[in-house]
């Protein structure tokens, strides 16, 4: 009972992540890769992503502090960051990345900085949500790890 309840909650939480636009189809792809041989794959990837992306964000932040802005470099960094964000399906983060890159191309330093703040916020929000989600999923039991019904 309890378990079922938990599972349902997990499922709901997962669903909301999608409907609220935090995650996209790519996340489902990751989920599909999770199986018995790789039971915690999604979580592992998310962890890896956050570790790596924190570093990237720091780099970008530092680059932003330098003026005049080297838009090319910023764009490159962001390109990279966008790539990894898209690999885990971080939809909102990805959108902010895109926006940032556009500002870079336009040479809009102010826009870049603003967007970057938004990006960080999204990044942090997603992190929290994912953490909560994984935790709950673990509690609910392995079966419940969000896998799409085959």
């Amino acid at each position: 009972m309890e378990r079922n309840n938990m599972r349902r909650q997990v499922a709901l939480m997962r669903q909301s992540l999608f409907t609220q636009g935090y995650l996209d189809e790519q996340f489902v792809q990751l989920e599909e890769l999770q199986d018995d041989t790789n039971p915690n794959f999604v979580e592992e990837i998310a962890t890896l992503y956050y570790r790596d992306s924190c570093r990237s964000l720091q780099t970008i932040e530092q680059a932003l502090e330098k003026t005049p802005h080297d838009f090319n470099k910023l764009d490159n960094h962001m390109h990279q960051f966008k790539g990894s964000s898209s690999s885990i399906g971080a939809k909102k983060v990805k959108a902010e990345c895109q926006q940032f890159r556009e500002y870079c191309r336009a040479g809009n330093g102010e826009g870049c900085m603003r967007t970057f703040q938004l990006l960080k916020k999204e990044h942090a929000t997603l992190k929290k949500k994912l953490e909560a989600y994984f935790q709950m999923a673990r509690q609910a039991g392995p079966i419940e790890t969000a896998s799409r019904p085959k």
Binding site: L33, Y49, N76, H79, Q80, G83, S84, S86, S87
Partner: protein
Amino acid sequence: MTIEPVLDDQRDQFPLGMRVLIVDDDVTCLRVLETMLHKCQYHVTATSHAFTALELLRENRNKFDLVISDVQMPDMDGFKLLELVGLEMDLPVIMLSSNGDRELVMKGVTHGACDYLVKPVRIQELKNIWQHVVRRKKVDSKDRTNSGNQDKSHIGNCGGGMANSDQNVKLNKKRKDQNEDEDDNRDEDGYDNDDPSTQKKPRVVWSVDLHRKFVAAVNKLGIDKAVPKKILDLMNEDNLTRENVASHLQKFRLYLKRISCVANQQANMMAAIGSSDSSYLRMGSFNGVRNYHALTGPGQFNNTGFRSMPLNGMIGRVNTPAGLGQHCLPSSGSIKLGHGQHPSNSILDQGLFPGNRNGSMFQGNLELDQRHSKGATSVRDLSAGINGTPVFPIAGGLSDAKLIVSRSSDAVGLTDDPILRHPRDFEGGREYVNQSSLSVAPLKSDFSAPFLDHGRLNDSWSSAAQSSAFRSNSFPSSNMRDNIPVVMSSQLRNCQFDVPSINSVSSQLQDPRTEMLIQPSAISSTAEQIIDSDPTQGWVWMDHKQDSPYHHSDAISSSMNSLMPANIPVAFDQNLDSKGTTLQRNMDFNSIGQSNFLDPLHIKFDEVERSVEASMNLKPGYTMDQRKPQGGLVSNNYGLLDDLVSAMTNQLEKR
């Protein structure tokens, strides 16, 4: 049929167990991709460093069936890696990027990628990547039985893929698949096509001779009209499939294109310099590294000598299709590989100087202008002659240096060649050619330094001459293979040039301005006769500064040309994958006026020079003493030259 027992099982279940190498600096993506591929039941090796990937591949090409690489990586540009892998290992490469812009995709196509995936990648897209591996093998076998049919498509492909990079994306994209089929089939010999999951088949080794024939055929047909089937017919070679020719042609075209870019740049320069020699072919520099496999597999070269012809042919062609600008000297005459009909005379004869002409092989000047100094222009593989090892022309990243190879309008080595004439002029002053042979002394690891990397011969000619252009890729010895650095990475590995003499000569080349007529006297006694006739043989004419030396340069270039051609064709995309020879052309040599055909010659120059010195009385103009490669690149270049020379020497000896 080579069978690796370990993989046999996997092979049988192909595509299961297909071995994929993935390269992406982003660890998240890498991990995801790796897992997806595992899910598809492929065997995956992942690395986040492009250089590591290259090492892995070089170590054993047969360990992998497919490579997937990210486009944007900090240590190496994905496209460069793509090129290198394609040239050196002839493996299908799939590009990966989060940026799916048309231009990038197009770039992928033109660089030879067999597919382009946009991140985030879905597993469904990966499930079918094995087709690229199969396709390569299949085409080979199919081609054997079915060469006619593919001609058309190939023509289309060639046209679309190669020369028309500016074709609209759509068109190219449309052709991409076809191209892949054709292009992916590099010089693979269609040995075992029965089993698609077989390992890579032995490659066709594009020996100097073979390449010469190839170039001759291409020239005859006209670069635009050259289609593999016809080329094959003209070449009349057994054991060569249309596919082999097709892939070789593709590489050739790419090569031409690249040198044309360089050449164009050079043209201006040359124009300024006022080269007395009329035309020179510009050989575009190859950006980055262009590896061309050595002409021939080890040993082959020896027999063929330097076939300047091919080079000539190439040179001639360079201008044409690739849109080479300016001074293309497509002397059709020269391009005839066929001149070669002197199968044996000294090497010089063969390639360089057909008949006993002093004429340089290249008719006109082949200007190799390596502008993009990425350090490695192209390394010509001089492999063949030298100790059986491929000669690698050194293509240094002579950024500024232009290698101008002048080609006389005549056919290779024609006496009428203006270049040839030059030598005569020189005779007075220069005696280059006393030395008859280019001592092809293997440039042993002397030049191991990766010239190419640094090929920045930016400014001085000499430096350019020396270094830049030639990245000596491992040459002659088969060991070199490993060294053949991808030009791209501009790692010149050991330039093992077997032409010590040339080395000396090459050193001389250092001073661009001075005509470094380096006479690869070392080449061999046999070469002697040839050399006599053409003092410039084997001379690297590095003089690009002044007009005067033109003749010298001509001479040199002629010699170089001769050498070059040998190398060039060879190098140009040889299947020496196995050998790891890469042909890098150093286009940076800017020989003012005449072509500075330096690549292999340079290297050899050092050696040659030394030997030559004794015999030759170079006029003050010649800086035979320039041994020191400026910027250290020279040495590298010399390596190539050495190889060239050695190759030549070998040839000569054989005769």
